[in-house]
């Protein structure tokens, strides 16, 4: 191809590459025990953009507030630390999962039931993201990577009708009001 075409194609690709929206997958809320005043939300976020993605907050109609937290075990003590923000570097993946980062739903208006589809809005540097978190059938077992515990992923995928073992299935279409491209 001639230079001009090459330049045009490059510009088009570059333009399409700008403002790559975060890719959300595996959003889930393990079923909390009845009467539980809090719940944890997990998900995986891929930031395909060249800009750092910063998640500054979250909200949901099912809870008075949603905080960002980090679980950790330090010197045999389990702690949680509220986070002001979560950062996903360009090209990086951030997994909110058991024993690590998670959304903490507080002041819940009603008990969650297995199969509920919980609407959550994430406030991010790439705009607001509306994500649906299905509530699982069980309180999740252990992390689910090569150990004997139940994996919350396999539980929810089985019961949600998703392809078994498919871990990267896209969630239902999200509203992305700031998106100017649709080249995904």
């Amino acid at each position: 191809m001639n230079r001009l075409t090459f330049l045009a194609v490059s510009l088009l690709l570059a333009n399409a590459a700008l403002a790559e929206m975060p890719q959300i997958s595996d959003a889930r809320i393990p079923l909390p025990p009845p009467g539980s005043p809090v719940a944890a939300g997990f998900l995986t976020i891929v930031n395909p953009d060249e800009q750092t993605l910063v998640i500054t907050g979250a909200s949901s109609p099912i809870a008075e507030k949603v905080e960002l937290h980090l679980s950790m075990v330090v010197d045999d003590v389990a702690k949680m630390q509220r986070q002001d923000e979560l950062v996903v570097d360009p090209g990086a993946t951030l997994a909110l999962e058991h024993g690590s980062y998670h959304l903490m739903f507080m002041g819940m208006s009603a008990a969650l039931a297995a199969g509920d589809q919980v609407a959550v809005t994430l406030d991010t540097s790439a705009g607001t993201l509306d994500i649906v978190f299905p509530v699982g059938e069980h309180a999740a077992g252990s992390k689910g990577h090569g150990n004997g515990g139940k994996s919350s992923t396999s539980d929810t995928t089985t019961h949600e009708g998703m392809t078994h073992g498919d871990e990267n299935q896209e969630m239902p279409p999200m509203e992305m009001p700031n998106s100017t491209t649709d080249g995904q």
């Binding site: 009845p34 009467g35 944890a40 003590v77 509220r82 998670h102």
Partner: protein
């Protein structure tokens, strides 16, 4: 409006004087757990602390059975465990206590007699670690029931009894298993017990929301033998297969 059950005098203001005690207790617990006061040494895996006298010589420590082991035998057993930390037989004995079961009735240390128990300390405002651990324990018990071994009693004690009333504990613990023993009680009594066992329970004020405070708590579970002696710590991360295997190994050696 928050419809959660609130302590009668309201969240943090009531807890504040006790917070001070709890912080002191946690420090005291940490001090005690790291060997303060002498004689309460933690065994750390294969590098067991030197005991002043071999266990076998203190025959009066209830040892008619193989649960008295020399340091070498303990070390050898420790080497076969996947994640648990064995403790010397005289590490800690659970002291007498009077707390409350999930029906609000008095509960004493006699629940530990004549059976093996695995005790976990947490609270219901814990969205991640506690539900996962209890869920793991449910699977552990189910697996052990298929094996020819003494059944394991699971005890879940709240370190946050102000919010975790008997009613809340009943719902919460019952979700995992009706056989799990949920324990709550007076804050001071709970923390006196956790302190005596070297269990950490530390309140962390939530800067944006005084009622939604967080509680740091020991991640390990304690294995208690039929004579109320703490024999091992099952450390995090808690996984079904690991706990099952270690319990079977310890049972075979100590029971």
């Amino acid at each position: 409006m928050n419809e959660l059950q609130k302590p009668s005098a309201g969240g943090l203001p009531k807890v504040l004087p006790v917070l001070a005690i709890a912080v002191l207790a946690a420090s005291g617990g940490a001090w005690f757990a790291t060997g303060g006061g002498g004689g309460g040494d933690d065994a750390r895996g294969a590098q067991s602390s030197t005991e002043p006298a071999p266990v076998a010589s203190s025959a009066e420590a209830g040892a008619a059975e193989a649960s008295s082991m020399t340091d070498d035998e303990l070390d050898a057993l420790q080497a076969t465990l996947e994640r648990s930390q064995l403790l010397p037989v005289d590490f800690r004995t659970v002291p007498d206590f009077t707390l409350s079961d999930v029906d609000g009735n008095p509960l004493t240390a006699s629940i530990l007699d004549n059976r093996w128990s695995l005790a976990f300390f947490g609270y219901t405002h814990c969205p991640d670690v506690c539900p996962i651990t209890l869920s793991v324990m449910k699977d552990v018990v189910a697996e052990l029931e298929t094996r020819d071994v003494d059944p394991m009693q699971v005890v879940f004690m709240t370190v946050d009894p102000v919010r975790d009333t008997a009613e809340r504990m009943k719902e919460y613990v019952g979700f995992f298993s009706e056989d799990f023993v949920g324990i709550t009680g007076e804050l001071n009594d709970i923390h006196e017990l956790t302190r005596s066992l070297g269990i950490v329970a530390a309140f962390t004020a939530n800067d944006t929301d005084p009622d939604n405070y967080l509680v740091d708590h020991t991640a390990s579970m304690l294995l208690v033998d039929p004579e109320r002696r703490v024999r091992a710590k099952f450390t995090a991360p808690h996984e079904v297969a690991t706990i099952v295997n270690d319990y079977l190994t310890i049972q075979a050696a100590l029971n």
